[in-house]
């Protein structure tokens, strides 16, 4: 399923958080959204999983206006991993994953259970099924939330900083898990090297606007990184995989 963001502008309390965003995720592609803190990545993603409604522009799923769709129909097409994390109630992992079936209500309980079981197998959390979700480690939680998203049986997956708070191994594991799902993915990522290694296309967001887009090696050029992130970047080749790796320093003071 193809995701098209067309000329989307989002406002809150009178100020424009993101403006005139055009972004396309082709069917089955993994697209990364990078940008400094406060550049509007999360805001843009919120409008995709309908926590926010754009003030202007359209979001389309295979051509259909996402915000004109029924909420549950939209949630059957597009699943999300928001950044929020509340642990006030002691749901078990199995219960959290079962929430993914909410937009499908009306189907039989047996098929729901089977879908949840398979989702947990795919993300390797079956052994955690009876554990309390709040007691899990960050990496386990993220895998459980991906299982919940998979239980939604969506065709598009939206991820807001899925590797936040994860150690190196878990970062790689989560991203290859997502990559291997075959879904159309749009992910906001902080780590530019991770983004470069996993994404087909990157979009760079700065102060609410897209300032660059394209294949990672074309986008992550030192001049752009200096302008957007305020860092001096060096590119080096990975000795084994030959992929481009970035090294960063703070820019020297200009005055």
């Amino acid at each position: 399923m193809r995701l098209d963001i067309e000329d989307v502008t989002i406002e809150a309390a009178g100020s424009r958080l993101v403006e005139h965003i055009d972004l396309t995720v082709g069917s089955g592609a993994f697209v990364g959204l990078v940008g400094p803190n406060g550049s509007g990545k999360s805001t843009l993603l919120r409008s995709l999983y309908r926590a926010l409604r754009p003030a202007g522009g359209v979001v389309r799923l295979d051509g259909d206006d996402l915000h004109a769709m029924d909420a549950r129909a939209a949630a059957r097409a597009l699943a999300a991993l928001p950044q929020e994390s509340f642990a006030e109630f002691d749901f078990t992992v199995a219960e959290v994953v079962a929430m993914g079936r909410l937009p499908h209500r009306g189907r039989t309980a047996a098929s729901d259970r089977e879908i949840c079981t398979r989702s947990m197998e795919r993300t390797g959390v079956t052994h955690l099924a009876d554990r309390g979700f709040p007691s899990l480690s960050g990496g386990e939680k993220q895998r459980v939330l991906i299982a919940r998203a998979l239980a939604q049986q969506p065709r598009v997956l939206v991820l807001d900083e899925p590797t936040n708070h994860l150690d190196v191994a878990h970062q790689l594991a989560v991203l290859s898990l997502v990559r291997g799902s075959g879904l159309t993915v749009l992910a906001a990522l902080h780590d530019l090297n991770l983004a470069a290694a996993h994404c087909d296309v990157l979009y760079v967001l700065d102060s609410g606007r897209i300032v660059a887009s394209g294949p990672p090696q074309d986008v992550l050029e030192p001049p752009l990184l200096a302008k957007v992130f305020g860092v001096r970047a060096h590119t080096v080749r990975h000795p084994e995989t030959d992929t481009v790796q970035l090294l960063f320093d703070l820019l020297p003071p200009t005055t």
Partner: protein, 351 residues
């Protein structure tokens, strides 16, 4: 570190059936026990006569009245109020995403108290006769609800924190009004019944209150049970709920209106009975887990049983005088609650 809670959960169906049987026994017990000693066989005979429209001997008329006109509506109302408080407690906790919230955190009961005490202390709405207290309490509960809603509203809808803060702040305001009325009232007996009402009591129960309270509680509970899965999503966070297609802004608004209506009704007939709406949801979660489908199936039955027995105690302990039932629920509830918490099975909000 939060301990892993490999929960040994009780299956819901047997638990609900057991509680339903226990509730029936409790209703019978509640009718049979009281300051005026009516034997068990007689109690059952009167109940049978009342249900089947049978006849009672003339010399039994006084006892029959105690059983059928005083105790039975009181016990039934106790069960309905207990069920309502427990169900609303579960929903309010999910709505404001705070396991320490209770039905009264939204300020609705304090608002109802203003109306009730205007009747008790100032003799307002005298034209409504016996209905004055309930009608006035319910009307001011609705007014309080509208006020809380209006103040708590923001461009993002009703956010949990704004709801709690607004409810708490306005509750202080309502309580101040009530206090002024109590101090201003010259009549000591009126102040006493105002006190009774503030702590919650089923002493004023009549048959006339039972149908309306029952319908409201059952309707509210049915709706909440129907939305239980969406409440699960809401409890995980607004963004999660949005991503799952549960529409958190609208859902919270609906839960607010439903819980406020049930709270208003319950408070109008029984005053502000504390602790049931806080403790029952917790205890039930410890038994069956956090899934609202299960919690909402069990909590109303548990609340009903608890309040029926609390009311029996409130009538018997200092008979013929009565304690406010809220004193009993707190006195019983606090130690039970602390005990369960210390057992450490239940990860309190995962911390």
């Amino acid at each position: 570190m939060p301990r892993s809670t490999a929960p040994s959960r009780i299956p819901v169906l047997p638990l609900s059936l057991a509680l339903a049987v226990l509730l029936l026994l409790s209703l019978a017990g509640g009718v049979g026990l009281g300051a005026a000693g009516v034997g068990w066989t007689e109690t059952l005979r009167f109940l049978w006569a009342g249900l089947t429209g049978g006849t009672v001997r003339a010399q039994d008329a006084a006892l029959y009245t105690i059983v059928w006109e005083i105790r039975l509506p009181r016990v039934l109302l106790g069960a309905v109020v207990g069920a309502g408080l427990a169900a609303v407690g579960v929903a309010v906790q999910a709505m404001v995403r705070n396991a320490l919230a209770d039905p009264f955190v939204l300020g609705i009961s304090s608002g109802a108290a203003v109306g009730a005490n205007a009747v008790i202390l100032l003799g307002a709405f005298a034209g409504l006769g016996v209905w004055a207290l309930s009608v006035s309490a319910f009307a001011s509960a609705l007014a309080a609800m509208a006020l809380v809603y209006a103040v708590a509203r923001s461009p993002q809808g009703l956010t949990p924190l704004r709801l709690i803060l607004t409810g708490t702040a306005l509750a202080y305001g309502f309580e101040a009004v009530t206090t002024v009325m109590v101090f201003g009232a010259a009549r000591g007996e009126a102040a006493r019944s105002a006190m009774m009402w503030l702590l919650g009591s089923l002493g004023g129960a009549t048959w006339a209150q039972v149908p309306l309270a029952t319908v409201t509680v059952v309707a509210g509970w049915t709706w909440l049970r129907w939305r239980a899965e969406a409440l699960n999503a809401l409890a995980m966070g607004d963004e999660t709920a949005a991503a799952l297609g549960a529409g958190p802004v609208r859902l919270r608004r609906e839960v607010f209106v439903v819980t406020a209506a049930v709270t208003g009704t319950v408070v109008a007939v029984s005053g502000a009975i504390g602790f049931v709406g806080l403790m029952v949801p917790h205890v039930v979660r410890m038994l069956v887990g956090a899934d609202h489908r299960r919690v909402l199936a069990v909590a109303p039955l548990a609340g009903a049983v608890l309040l029926v027995w609390a009311d029996v105690l409130s009538r018997l302990l200092f008979a013929p005088a009565e304690l406010p039932v809220g004193v009993i629920t707190s006195a019983v509830g606090v130690p039970v609650f602390l005990l369960l918490m210390r057992r450490g099975v239940y990860a309190f909000g995962g911390r």
